[in-house]
Structures are given as C-alpha cells and as structure tokens.
C-alpha cells in the first residue's frame, strides 16, 4: 500500500500528490491514523529486506529533506542501512547522514565503522567517497578518526583520494580548530603534490585554514604557476586569488618608478598611496618639482627589473582571460590590476567588457569592479566607452553602475559624446536613474572645467522639468557647482530663489536656502524676501529646511541687519518652541552668537567670520574611489566593507624578500637529511634516508647544533639566521652586520658561546653529513687550525677571530633556520619587524649556500663576481629546471639518478665509494660535469684525509677535485661533489683516491647522456635550431641527424613513460609542446605527438636535439640532431635502449 503510493510520488512527482504523503494527511499512511506515527510506513520500508522498498523510502525521505521538512526522527531506521549493498540506497543514506548526523551524534557513531572500512577499499573512488562522507559528518567525537583518515588519504596513491583529503581539511578545521597545526602539516604535504587534480582543492584548504602561512607557498609557487592552466576552473579562481596576495608580499611594485614620477608630476596623484596633495596648490609645486627630480634620481639609480617569478605568474595567468568562466576572468583581471606593470594592465579590459554581455548578475559584479578600476586606469577602458552605453531595458542597478563608469571615463576629448548620451538618459522614465544621471553630470562638470558652464546651463534648464525629483536633484547638484564660482552666476541664484515657491522636496529647498544665504551679497534684494516667505511657512517645513532657514536668517542678520532684524527675531522665536531639539538648540546657539547682548561672550565678535567664512567647494568624487584597497573581485570590495575571512591585500614590500626561497632543487644530501631529522620521517626519500640511517654520529653532531639553534627557537632563530651572512658581510658592510647582531642581542651571543664551546672538539664539528657543510667548516676551520692551503677566503678574510666564529655559527644556524622555516609547520610566520632583516638577507642571498649547494665549490679561489654570476646562473637554471620538474610529464625523480660504484667495500677495505651524476650545473666551472661522490666508511676505524691524487687524464680533460675529507669516522657517510671536464667524450677519467693509508685506482666513465646539460627552448626555437643544424652541416645528411625506428612496449607508450625514459637516459630538458593542453590529455594530439628534448654538451656547448615521434601500435621514431656525430650516435643507442628495455 505504502509502496504503491510511493510509486505515485516518483512517477507523477507532482507536489500535490507527494505533499500530503509526508504526514499531513493521516489517511495516506494507510492504517496509521495518528499524526506522530506518520513515518511508520517509511520505517517499515527501511526495515524490509527488499532493496526497492528501501530505495523508495529513502527517496521520499530525501525529498522531505530537500523541501526542508524535518526527517530527523527516522535516523535510527536510516542509519541501519548504511552498509546496504545497493549503491543507490547507500548514496541516499549518505545524503541523509550528512544532513542529520550533527543532530544525532550518538547514533551517527554507528555508521563510522562502515566508512573506516571504506577507507581501506582497493577502489579509489570508494575510498574517496568514504572519506568524503566521514569528513562531512559533523560529530566532534570522531575528530581523531577524521584526522587519521585525512593524514592517510593525503599520501594515498590516487590523486582523487588526495583531492578528497584536501576537501576534508577545511571541514575538520571548522569542526575543531584545535587541529590546525596538524592540518597545516597535511596541507604542506598536499601543496607539494604535482597533480592538477589536487592543486585547486589544497589551495582552497590553505585559504580556509592558514591563509597567513604564505611561507608554505614559496616552494610550490612555480609549480602552481605552471599547473594553473590545467587546473579545473574553480580551483583556478582560488589559486589566482591566493597568488595575488603572495605576489604582493614577495615582489616589488612594477609601477614603483612611475608612481614616484607621477606623484611628483603633479598630475592627479592617482598612483601614490600616501600622497597628501589632493589640492593642487601653487605652493606645492616647487616641492613637487623637487620630489620629481628626486624620483627621477631614484629611478636612475635603481632601474626596476621584474622578478622572473613575477613575470611567470603574469605570463601563465594571461591565457585564462579567455576562460568561459566569468569568475576566472575576473580573478585574472584583478591579478593584473594589482600586480602588472601599468603598460600591461590594458589586456584585461577587453575580457571584462566581454563579461558585460553575460547575465545581469555577472554584469553587476563586473561593473562594480570596472568602476573601481576606471578611476585608477582610465585609459584602459576608454576604447570601450560605448560598451557602457545604457539601454532602456537594463535593470536600474546596472544603469547606475554604467553611469558611474561613464562618468569615470569622461575627459576633455570624449565629454561631448558622453553629455549627449546623458541627455538621452535624462528623459528616461526611470527616475532613480535620472537622478543618478544628474549627479553624474555634476561630477563631469566639476572634473572637467571646460564643460562646467554647459553642464550648469543644462541643469538650470532641468529646473523647469515637470518632475519634481529631477528638479530637486538638479538643485542639489547646481548648488555644489555654484560653490566653485558663485560670482558669475547670480542670475542662476535668482532663478533658484524663485523656485522656492514650487519645489517641495526638502533637500532641494534646503539647498536653495543655503545658496541664498551663502551668497546673499550677490542677491541683496531677493534674499530678505525669501526669508520673509520662509518665515511664513516655517512651521510647516521639514527639519532640514528649518535649519537652513535659521541659517539664512543668521547670515542675513549679519550682512543686512537693517532689513532682516525683525524677521530673524521672528524665526528664532519660532524655532525656540520647535518640537525638534536640534532646531531649538540651533536657535539658542545662534541667538547668543549673533544678537549682541551684554552677556554675549567673546565669540559674538567673530560671528561674521564663523558664518560667512569662505567654504571650500565640495569635491564630487566617485563612491568607488579608493575602493581598490580591497582586493578587486572580492566580496569585501563589492560591499565596500570587510567581509568575514577576508585576507587583506598587502602593500608592496619596499625591498623584495629573498627570491631564492622559491628555488626548488632536486633534493640532495644536506637538505634532505637535515630536513628529515627535523620532520621526523615526514617525507620518505629512501635514497637519503638510507644513508642517514647509517650515520649515527652525524646525527648527534647535527642535533647538537640543532639544540643550539633550537634554544633560540621561534623568533630568535630567524633573526640570528638573517643577521649576517658569511662572506658577504665581510666585504660589504661589516658595520651593518654588526648592528644587526647587536639588535639580536643576547640570544645570539649565547648561541655563539655555545658554538665556541663546541669548537675545541673539531672532530664532531667538522663531520657534518653534507658535503657542503664539510666545505664550510673546512673553510672556516682551516685557517684556525693553521693548515696552509686554505685558499678559500684569503682575499677577503680580514675579520677577527671572534667575529669569524660568530659568522660560522650564523652560517650554520642560518641554514638550520631556513630549513626550519620551510619545513616546520608549527613555527609562526615571520613577523613584519623581522622583514627588515630579511631584506638585508635578500641581497646576500645570491651567495647563500642554499642556492648552489648542488655544486659546492671545494677549496679553490673563486673571485667574487664569478661566484655571483654562477649563482645567478644556478638560479636561472633552477627556474628552467622547475619548469621541467613541474610540467606533469617531465618529472625526473631524484631517485632516478643512477649510482655507480667507484670502489667496492671489500676492495676499499671497508671504504665504499659510490658516485652519481647529480645533473646540477657545476658552478665553479660550468664546462664540467658535476659528479657526486659518496663515501661510506663501513670499516671499524676511521678513515682519514680522503683526497684525489695523480689524475691520469686524456688530453684536454680536466678535473676539479673535491676538498680533502679530513676524517670519516666509522659508520659515517659523507658526500662531496667534484667536477670533471670529459671534453665531450666518454673516455674515463682515471685518478687515484687516497686515504691516509692507501691509494685506490679508480675511474669514472660517463654515459653519453651525462655529457650534456639541459637547455630550455620553445618548440619554435627547437624547430629553427633543427633546421639550421641541418642546413649548416647538412650537405652530408646523416652527419648530424640520426633517425632510428623502434617499437615501444606497451607500458612505455604513454607520453609520461617516454619522457621519463628519455630524460633518465640523458640529461636533457623537455621542450614544451605547442599546446599546453597537449601535455595533459593522454590522447595523442594530431597527427602524432612529438616529444622534443633539448640540451647542449657540457664542454663545447654544441646543441643536442632529440625528438621522439610516437605512432600507433607503439611504433616510434627517434631522431637525434647533434653537431658531434659521435655523441649523436651514442646517444641514439642509449635512448633506444632506454625506450625499448
């Protein structure tokens, strides 16, 4: 019975059939007659063992929920079905659960185990949906379970599950804000995710949970920029908005110089934020001139160079202006408005104008933003003036906004067209709109002097309009205009005086009275008469009019007391007994002031000055002025009030913070190991953690320094880190660093002392886990120990012993803290006062070790500028590298670096040596290949003075040895980097590896793929290069182009696989395909996808171009172009092997 009625509902579905079923009509429940048992039939259906009945019941229940009816009393019956096999029933049960769990917390717990089981399901979609529902149940008791589930899901194999985890984060956060720290850790982890699926969701979680932790973005910034175009549209909006804020904290104002100039220029000081020159006074001019010259001087001194990361953001967001999604377009537009150089902002205008054709709500929001933008950047929208013309069919709110924009865009050249348009609008039937138009005319008149009279005349004509509202509005506007030049317009004032008989709108009457009072000297005859009339009607006037009557009376009394004395007295007497206390007060006050009595105080002498002082003309300005301090496109901007959760758009920094924080390097020894210690198994990078596991002593050494910097903890550590920066401070400004040190105070000294205290035991000190720390400590310790060949610092080392030690400590702690900042989630973000320090750091950062620790230069003389340039190169390299790393297809996992054995444990008598090609540029000499060598001492005794000797090299080959390793304790591992110039050949480099007791003959033979380094080029460049290569040497085809056909295996056919295999085989970089989309869809774009890779040989820099064309059924063609035939041939062989293995 109940089932059949339910069918009716589903099929017929009309509300009038469905409605009574939910219990209003007791009869519909069949046998159930009492109202409170109304859901019994549903319960029965849910308890039945037929899925169709259950489904039916659930549908009716969900329909009740959808209608907003309470179905909570069914909870026990529904929750039983949570484990139902039928997927449809299950889904509906989930819907119910999520809706009512909050109200029935205890019962909801019954369902948890089902979800927990679901979390372990092999199907990723089931895992995801279990997590989704689990996290949507707002029951506080299960917070720990949720936390655990989220953590687990965050490292799930499936990106979809990880996305769901990202979605769950804000849910948990809103349920229990206490979990913030844990959640930030998860966010940090997910931010590092490289899939587009996760990116949008995790940034959204970031924005909801910890938008202030901008430091978490550094490492992911470039990746986010590069992924952006492939992220789904909603994610794009969130990411772009967040990156806008990020960029405001990290980069310099691209309009800095212009704004300085313009501010000085005396032109409407639009771009200065703290300008004080709203009135363009003559006296200011000189000052401004001065400012201007100063500004130009500054400009000359510091030419602005845009940070490449800033550029990257602008470049990668621009295509999104073409999105179909209005929110994305708006997000990009606001990003450009806030971040782009003035000259480039224009591109957004077209896209915004396009949005104007969209739905009226979209228009409304876009127009609000355009109104704000058009104040600052008028030129941008001027070409589109006509797109803002108003149609009679537009809704009023749109009309008013368009009017606003038109007014903002008005200038000398287009004012006539605009006024003509306005004339049409004034005739409109929509009176609110007409009023707005009159206001707009008023504003145009004040802003553009040339048309002031025209406008005024036009407005005066409106005074004879039949509609009172129009007249009233005109009066108000005319009043404002007249204030600017009253002398010339006494006839208008007279005209308006006549209007007092007709106009009834209080505001207009008040305006007229004020005008007559203010300029009573220009209309000496009329004014007393007006007052006479007003005195007559005083009692019937509105309050504002009464106040103005009193005002008028007072002014007339002061100027023309003969004629108006009595009238004034009369008005004041009337006012004395008015109902409104304001008016009574005003009357009393004025009487005291103007009517001289013996009691009247000193003020009455100044009555005239008080009342008839020259009043400044009102400034008619747009209500949208200065609204851009809110981030455009935001809700807060729209409301012109801070909405909850709004993140303030920061001002540009004075000096850019350290850009190197965004460098993402292929992780290596130092970083990883120390990070791991810090984060305790956070990231599992097997390669490094292995080595770490063996190195007990290192850890202790490190942890010692850890505690040192740890003792300063939080705030102190950062300061000490930024205080002075090794060599830089020496040669640049000692004083500066010293000042800093003073500031940092005791904490730091303590630290120094600690380190000093540790000094006497150099063994423990000088064996850090990283090659680079070796280098550092060596650099520092050698002079002290007195070993003579410390070439490292001779040039510039002139500091005293103590400061040196300080330096060292700082270096270390610097590094430590840096990492800490990047990795430790719970640390508070750096606070503004510390930025000062940071800035200093920024300049020095070029020398920062973090920058080029891939290729630590062993103890050799390196002139400083070389240092600098090389690190710059590294920086740039890092940029293109990240490009590779980030584009989803070209990930070269660090684990792929193949390690080769140099010395076996047994032959080496306990010393085993491995090497790998780190693929980092070797900064001391870019023509060398960087080889990372890892020593592991598995013997029982320590190995001493490990170094290279007696290199037997082929002609032309060169070698840059690593610095001697003084001691390698038992069980320890250390790695160093050496550079070898293989002269673009695969000949082995033979040399001797010496310990204090023995010498081992070893040789390093590079695979051909390591003899090159990646270069970045676009597809077009690639094609061009390929052609020129062919032409220049191409008389003998086949000399420099080698083509091989091959068949790819099944598992290797994917784009990703191909790219990965090629880049593993050879150190090349992927040439981005012509279309960004091509990177993502797995389907081959027409005709067949070509994967291109580019590189150049390390020594001679000859180009190496590789392209792989894949066709159907795994057929593929490999083409290698290289000037060096031998290299080309070998490379073909290697890549072939890699692809077909």
């Amino acid at each position: 019975m109940s089932a059949s009625s339910a069918f009716n509902d589903e099929k017929g579905g009309s509300s009038n059939v469905g409605e009574p079923e939910y219990g209003h009509d007791p009869a519909s429940g069949g046998i159930f007659s009492s109202d409170y048992k109304r859901h019994d039939d549903l319960k029965e259906m849910l308890d039945s063992n037929k899925d169709s009945l259950k489904l039916e019941a659930m549908k009716r229940i969900v329909a009740m929920i959808a209608r907003g009816k309470n179905a909570s009393d069914l909870f026990p019956a529904v929750v039983k079905n949570v484990a139902c096999k039928n997927i449809e029933v299950k889904k509906l049960v989930y819907v119910y659960l999520v809706r009512y769990a909050e109200e029935q917390q205890d019962l909801a717990l019954l369902s948890i185990s089902t979800f927990q089981r679901g979390l372990k399901d092999p199907n990723q979609l089931i895992r995801a949906s279990a997590l989704r529902v689990l996290s949507s149940i707002r029951v506080t008791i299960i917070v720990p379970i949720m936390m655990l589930a989220i953590k687990e899901a965050a490292s799930d194999m499936s990106p979809y599950v990880r996305k769901t985890a990202a979605h769950a984060i804000p849910k948990l956060y809103s349920l229990d804000p206490e979990q913030k720290d844990c959640l930030i850790e998860v966010i940090e982890k997910l931010l590092a995710d490289k899939t587009t699926l996760v990116a949008g969701s995790v940034v959204m979680a970031f924005e909801e949970v910890c938008p202030e932790r901008i430091d978490l973005i550094h490492k992911n910034y470039r990746k986010l920029c590069n992924l952006l175009i492939d992220v789904e549209e909603w994610g794009q909006v969130v990411i772009i908005n967040m990156l806008t804020r990020y960029a405001r904290t990290q980069f310099l104002n691209p309009n800095m110089n212009e704004s300085l100039l313009e501010e000085g220029g005396g032109e409407k000081a639009f771009y200065g934020s703290d300008n004080d020159d709203d009135t363009d006074d003559e006296e200011d001019k000189e000052e401004k001139e001065k400012k201007k010259t100063e500004a130009t001087a500054i400009v000359k001194r510091k030419p602005y160079v845009m940070d490449p990361d800033h550029r990257l953001l602008l470049r990668n967001t621009k295509p999104l202006l073409q999105s179909r999604n209005a929110a994305v377009v708006m997000a990009v537009a606001q990003l450009y408005f806030h971040l782009a150089p003035k000259a480039e902002v224009g591109v957004i205008a077209k896209a915004l104008v396009r949005l104007m054709r969209s739905h009226s709500e979209v228009q409304y929001v876009v127009l609000q933003n355009v109104a704000t933008m058009s104040i600052k950047r008028r030129g941008m929208f001027e070409p589109y003036l006509k797109s803002f013309y108003i149609r009679s069919t537009d809704p009023t709110q749109i009309k008013v906004l368009k009017l606003e924009v038109l007014t903002n865009l008005a200038n000398e050249t287009n004012i006539s067209t605009i006024l003509r348009e306005f004339q049409t609008y004034i005739k409109s039937n929509d009176k609110d709109f007409v009023a707005a138009t009159i206001q707009a005319i008023g504003r145009c008149a004040t802003n553009i002097g040339e048309v002031r009279d025209t406008c005024l005349n036009g407005l005066v004509q409106l005074l004879s309009n039949r509609d009172e509202l129009v007249v009233a509005e005109s009066v108000v506007v005319i009043k404002k205009l007249l204030q600017m030049q009253p002398e010339q317009h006494s006839d208008i004032i007279k005209h308006m005086a006549k209007l007092t008989d007709n106009i009834q709108v209080p505001m207009a009457r008040a305006s007229i009275l004020w005008l007559i009072g203010e300029y009573c000297e220009h209309v000496p005859k009329i004014a007393p008469d007006v007052l006479r009339k007003m005195a007559k009607t005083f009692t019937n006037e509105e309050d504002i009019v009464k106040l103005q009557i009193i005002n008028l009376a007072a002014k007339l009394y002061l100027t023309n007391s003969k004629q108006t004395k009595l009238l004034t007295q009369y008005v004041l007497n009337l006012a004395k007994y008015d109902q409104n206390y304001d008016i009574r007060d005003r009357a009393r006050f004025i009487r005291q002031l103007i009517v001289p009595t013996d009691k009247s105080g000193a003020l009455s002498k100044y009555a005239k000055k008080l009342f008839l002082a020259l009043k400044p003309a009102p400034v008619l300005e747009s209500p949208f002025k200065d609204r851009d301090h809110f981030q455009l496109g935001s809700l807060s901007h729209l409301l012109n009030a801070k909405a909850g959760g709004y993140q303030v758009l920061p001002d540009w920094p004075e000096a850019a913070p350290d850009p190197s924080v965004r460098n993402v390097e292929v992780p290596e020894w130092t970083k990883c190991s120390s990070r791991e210690k810090r984060k305790e198994k956070k990231a599992d990078k097997p390669f490094y953690s292995d080595s770490e596991g063996e190195s007990g002593p290192t850890e202790s050494a490190d942890s010692a320094s850890d505690t040192a910097s740890g003792s300063e903890s939080g705030s102190g550590s950062e300061e000490s880190g930024s205080g002075s920066e090794s060599e830089e401070s020496n040669e640049e400004s000692e004083s500066a660093s010293e000042e800093d040190e003073e500031e940092e105070g005791k904490k730091k000294k303590k630290n120094v002392e600690k380190i000093k205290a540790r000094k006497p035991v150099p063994e423990s000190e000088s064996e850090p886990s990283s090659g680079e720390e070796v280098k550092k400590s060596e650099k520092k310790s050698k002079p002290r120990i007195g070993s003579s060949e410390s070439e490292s610092e001779e040039d510039d080392d002139s500091e005293s012993e103590s400061s040196e030690s300080e330096e060292e400590s700082e270096e270390e702690s610097e590094e430590e803290t840096k990492k800490k900042k990047k990795t430790t989630a719970s640390k508070p973000p750096s606070k503004p006062p510390k930025k000062e320090n940071k800035k200093e750091k920024k300049e020095m950062s070029l020398l920062d070790f973090d920058d080029f620790d891939p290729a630590p230069s062993p103890s050799q003389v390196t002139p400083l500028n070389n240092f600098l340039s090389s690190s710059l190169v590294t920086d740039l390299e890092g940029l293109s590298l990240t490009d590779n790393v980030l584009s989803p297809t070209t990930i070269v996992p660090s684990g792929n670096l193949k390690t080769y054995e140099l010395l076996h444990r047994i032959t080496g008598e306990g010393l085993s040596v491995e090497y790998c090609f780190s693929r980092q540029p070797f900064s001391p000499d870019l023509h060398m290949v960087a080889v990372k060598i890892q020593f592991t001492n598995s013997a029982t005794s320590e190995a001493k003075s490990l170094h290279v000797e007696d290199a037997k090299l082929q002609s032309g080959m060169r070698i840059k040895e690593f610095p001697e390793i003084e001691v390698l304790p038992a069980g320890e591992t250390v790695s160093v980097v050496m550079g070898i110039d293989f002269c673009d050949s695969t000949q082995a480099a033979n040399f001797q590896l010496c310990t204090h007791t023995r010498k081992f003959f070893v040789s390093i033979q590079p695979p051909v793929g390591e003899l090159m380094m990646p270069i970045f080029m676009t597809e077009n460049e690639f094609k061009k290069e390929q052609e020129t290569l062919l032409q220049s040497l191409g008389q003998l085809m086949g000399m420099n182009e080698i083509t091989e056909k091959l068949t790819l295996e099944e598992k290797c056919q994917g784009e990703h696989a191909v790219v990965q295999r090629v880049t593993t085989a050879a150190n090349l970089s992927r040439v981005p395909c012509g279309s960004d989309k091509e990177c993502s869809p797995p389907v081959p774009p027409p005709p067949f996808p070509i994967h291109r890779f580019a590189g150049k040989t390390v020594t001679s820099g000859s180009l190496v171009l590789v392209s792989v064309v894949t066709k159907e059924d795994g057929a593929a063609q490999l083409t290698v172009n290289c000037e060096k035939m031998v290299i080309g041939t070998m490379l073909v062989k290697d890549i072939l092997q890699a692809l077909t293995q």
Binding site: A63, A66, Q322, R354, E361, P395, S634
Partner: protein
C-alpha cells in the same frame, strides 16, 4: 565557500533547500524576500545582500531565484557563476529549468547538488561527469525504473573525474558519427531617433553538437580568423595553438556545448540589416498620441530577414491603444504595457507598417520619454561579420564523421531610441 542554496519562486515560496555545511535556517531568506518586495522588477533585486551573519548571493533565472548563503569572503562571481551552472545543469538534465521540473525531480536535483559541491567547494560541474554518476531521465528509462524499481543513480563510478579531460566521458559510441557547428552572430546596436548608429558591435558564438565515438581530436579553422577580436573558449580548446596558429584544436565534450564565443573586431563597420522609421508622438493638450512604425531591410547581403519582431514598453500612463498592422499581428498586454508586433519575413516590396492611436489616462501628463523599440530578427545562412569556417579535421579515430556548419545572424540587444 557556499553554505546553502535555496530555490525560491517569484511569489516567495522556498521549494528546495540544500545545505553543504551546517544547516542554515531558512529564515535567512527573509532578508532576501524583503529586498525582493522592495524591487519593482525581479531583475532589480541586488545580487548581493549583506545580512548580519550571512551574505546572500542570488541570481534570477528562468523565473526562479537561486539564492546562496555565504558566511565568509568569497569572490561573488565565483558564486554567481556556480549558480548559473546549477541552472544550466537542470536545463541540461530535464530540458527546461522551471519550478515544476525541479519539484518533479526533487530527489535527483538534490543528488546532483550533492555531487556538484563538497563542503561548499565545486567538485563536479562538468555535465559529462555528472551524467556518468546520475543519469538524466529519458522516457524509456523512467518506464524501466518504474517496472524494476531502479533509479537513475549510475552504478559505475565517475571515472571522468579522474581523467585529465573531465569534460569528456569515456567509451562513447555512436553509429552515426556527426559533428555540427552553428556559428551564431548577434548584432548589438543602439540606433538613435534619426536612425544613425550610436553603437553597434557583433558578438558571435560557435555552438557545437558533437556526437562522435571514441576520443576524437578535432581541429577547426577559419578562413578569416583576423576578424575575431576577443575570444573565450570552452576549457577543451588548446589555447596555445590558437595563439600561434589561429586554429581551434580540441577534444570535444560529448553532446551539445559552446565551443567559443567571440567579439568581432571593432574596426569593421557593422552592417545593420534593417532600418526602422518611427514616429511616436503625444499631444500636449489632448489625452492621446500617435504611433507609426515602419521596418525595412537595409544591408542584408542578399538574404531574407526573417522573424522580425518589434517590442515596445509603452509608458505606464497609456490607457489603451488602437493600431493596425499591414503585416503580421501585434499583441498588447495592458497590465505590463508591453506591445509586441510580430512581423515575420520582411518583404522589400511591401514594407510592414504599424500605425494607430494611443490614448492616455485622462489628466495624465504627456510622457517625457518616447519608448524605445527593441528589434528581433534573424537571417539564416549568413554570418554578418563574414566569418567563415574553413575546414574541420578529425584525428585520433578512424571513421569518417559527418560534418556540418550552419550560420545564423540574429539581433542581440538591438534598440532603437525614439
């Protein structure tokens, strides 16, 4: 993000509510209803309303209000765009978006809403993905559902969500493989009393209906892409290729979708296909006026102008009208004062004319503004800008698809001031 959604009909009844976070009482809608009362037209309701604890962002579409409740800062366009997607989704699923349709498919709409947002953040908004999870109703399916007791919830999982091309579902099969493209251009114009063009521009859109099996990769090129000044694309279009080669290269979604919208270069003068001679006058003393409107073809590129329609919002003070049309028929609604003259095809030999008298309410003043005329028209087989599709190529699949391109010109917001 988005906290709750309420669907409200024009009379103020809330007939569906969905909450993605904690439940927000529907009393919050009172603020909105209040604003709605104040507004003269439904379009005049402010899209964003600030209440003490919430922000209400609403759209008015298809005679329904979609009202969303927001608690914290979120880009308003984000919400508005999403609400429009909801409306489009309903339209896509049930053929139209109206109160009855939503009430008929309450559960399904609710389920769709559940899938579209997670915790207020959009999760699956691509119609192809949604349709994989919840199948749209067809007559056949509803019969089967009735008989078997199953419903439209997809039993497969939405694999589309996992793919990098979420807009296309996998495993599409058709016996007839066809791809149709409609190039629709709209003329937006404002003409003044004398017939001179105050403002005119052409906006175009390429609508596609692609029913191709497998994973086709299409390339569409134009003869004269230089005409296009500003474009926006469906996410499937590869922007870089457009930038470099001016071709549209894409893996299409399955079914109907909007491939691109464009704006024609402003330098090109816009051909106005019709002219309108009109005179509307009210007599100062008497309580009546005259109306005389003639429409004729102007620059039609040799094509016939069809579906011509003139819409006039007459002043509120009009009491009654008495008109005669030489061609077509007119309707007049005295309540809304809306005069619609449906002309049909334009015959250059015999120009259609509508004339007659208007009578005003007694004593009412003469209206200051003459009502403006809104013109509708369409011209088949013509893209007024001259845009032409050059060719359409398909890669990635072996069959030969049937391809078709159609051009239409329409009047967009075409207004004649009088």
């Amino acid at each position: 993000m988005i906290n709750s959604l309420f669907l409200i009909n024009p009379s103020g009844e809330i007939f569906l509510e969905k909450h993605w976070k904690s439940v927000v009482s529907r009393s919050v809608c009172d603020y909105f209803l209040e604003a709605k009362e104040k507004a003269l037209e439904p379009e005049d309701v402010p899209p964003v309303i600030h209440t003490p604890h919430h922000y209400l962002i609403s759209i008015y579409r298809d005679k329904l209000f979609f009202l969303s409740v927001i608690q914290t800062e979120v880009p308003p366009l984000f919400v508005i765009e999403f609400l429009h997607r909801v409306a489009e989704m309903i339209q896509d699923y049930f053929g139209e978006c109206s109160e009855t349709v939503v009430k008929d498919h309450m559960v399904m709409v609710y389920e769709l809403l559940e899938e579209m947002l997670d915790n207020g953040f959009p999760l699956a908004t691509e119609s192809n993905v949604l349709k994989e999870m919840i199948r749209p109703p067809t007559i056949l399916r509803s019969v089967v559902n009735t008989l078997t007791g199953t419903s439209n919830v997809g039993d497969t999982f939405p694999t589309g969500q996992l793919s990098t091309i979420p807009w296309r579902r996998a495993g599409v099969r058709y016996t007839n493989n066809e791809a149709y493209f409609d190039v629709v251009e709209e003329i937006d114009a404002i003409l003044d009393q004398s017939g001179t063009t105050v403002f005119a521009e052409i906006q175009g859109v390429v609508e596609a209906c692609v029913k191709l099996s497998g994973m086709p990769d299409l390339t569409l090129s134009f003869m004269n892409p230089r005409l296009l000044d500003d474009v926006s694309f469906h996410p499937c279009v590869r922007y870089k290729l457009w930038e470099s080669e001016r071709v549209l290269s894409f893996i299409p979604p399955d079914g109907n979708f909007t491939l691109m919208t464009y704006h024609v270069n402003a330098q090109n003068l816009v051909a106005i296909p019709v002219y309108v001679k009109q005179s509307i006058s009210f007599f100062e003393c008497g309580s009546d006026g005259r109306l005389d409107v003639t429409v004729g073809p102007k620059q039609t590129m040799g094509k016939t102008v069809e579906g011509v329609m003139v819409t006039v919002h007459l002043p509120k003070t009009i009491l009654s009208i008495n008109l005669t049309a030489t061609q077509g028929s007119y309707t007049y609604d005295n309540g809304t004062k809306l005069l619609v003259w449906d002309i049909g095809k334009l015959n250059p030999q015999k120009l259609p004319n509508l004339r007659g008298s208007l009578s005003l309410q007694a004593g009412a003043p003469k209206p200051e503004e003459n009502p403006s005329l809104n013109i509708d028209l369409n011209i088949q087989q013509l893209a007024i800008s001259g845009l032409k599709v050059n060719r359409l190529d398909m890669f990635g699949e072996k069959y030969k698809p049937f391809k078709g391109v159609k051009y239409i010109t329409k009047a967009g917001k075409f207004q004649v001031r009088t």
